[in-house]
Assembly symmetry: C2
Amino acid sequence: MPITPIGFITSPFKQKFAIPRQPNLAKAKGHITLTEQFNDIRVFKGLEGFSHVWVLFQFHKNSDKGWKPTVKAPRLGGNETLGVFASRSTHRPNGIGMSVLKRGGYYKHNGLVQLEVEGLDLLDGTPILDIKPYLPYADICESATDKLDDYAPIPNRQVVISEQARASLTKASMTHSDLETLIVSVLQQDPRPAYKHKLDDDPKEYRVMLYAYDIYFYVQQGTLVVTQLKAV
Amino acid sequence: MPITPIGFITSPFKQKFAIPRQPNLAKAKGHITLTEQFNDIRVFKGLEGFSHVWVLFQFHKNSDKGWKPTVKAPRLGGNETLGVFASRSTHRPNGIGMSVLKRGGYYKHNGLVQLEVEGLDLLDGTPILDIKPYLPYADICESATDKLDDYAPIPNRQVVISEQARASLTKASMTHSDLETLIVSVLQQDPRPAYKHKLDDDPKEYRVMLYAYDIYFYVQQGTLVVTQLKAV
């Protein structure tokens, strides 16, 4: 069964490390540009009636890795395993991911049909396989339960931007007005590996890349301190 | 990008006509049987922690039909169109569908790994591409809106089973104990074409196939009357 990307995403996430565990955890914005074959504005007719969309995509940076019956589960601290079909791991047969994103506008720009989306958890350049409206009456499953839900809550850390980083951030914000919001929402979730989350003092310098900036931080008394912002 | 089915579904729906508009509208039960390549019980390890699963599948009965930029929308009465990416139409590029289903048990039966699922809206024999746990914290999007939601509510009709059909149903229920529940929940939603929904008296005899039975009905004073049940 052959699958063809219908488009590709432009996202501030240039490397996997910074990507939130699920969509809508960070307020990352981006857009999908349709490929030539699907470049027809009519494909989105009526989409303004829906506030959110499902985006199906390819985990293209894993596609060569194959699959295993079980995967390490970050929510279980990274040591225990879950069956691949009991997880949302990116390492899975067929490598298809799905994210619910906020719908933005759609338009033709330089002859290319684009759809804005918000709440991204997708790597820049990810091939998009489908876009479907989110249907509350079908997709909101009130009775659904998840026993792991209380197991590893998503961290909600304080984030502080140092004076030195502030100067670079002010400058960078002229190009990317949402950069500060993005940095804070990504770092709040503590992108360190899960087993480091118990370290409230962690002088090691970590780096995340957002847009074309490397953002350096360390952890002090539970707060993530941004030390530097460097254009890549 | 090549895609390989990880399994195939066994479902009471043998033809498209009877299939509910979305999953969980009818209480249809079935199971996914994994293909030889994925036939390893470990793939489901820990799935019992989740009450629901997403099932990604192929709209295999449409795969030869290609796609169009717009599709007729049953929710708009079938005359107006929506962009293909503003609809959940089965006629779409890449032909991938997604349904949230209730998780049942998983086990090895005659050497084959199977997963029971409930709330099916899938045609018998549909190729399954992926199974993912439903994660309430990520997939329940409380703020999502759908302007079409009040446009064409799903019918909730009375269903009556005639004496003649009752005798056959009692017999058939020995093999398929859920058959009566299934018939009622499918017919409640009025499987007639959307433009017929305004007809409260419609003597035309319709037929839906569930398991290996043809079920005949007509509509009288807004009630769907099952006239006959015939083994196919």
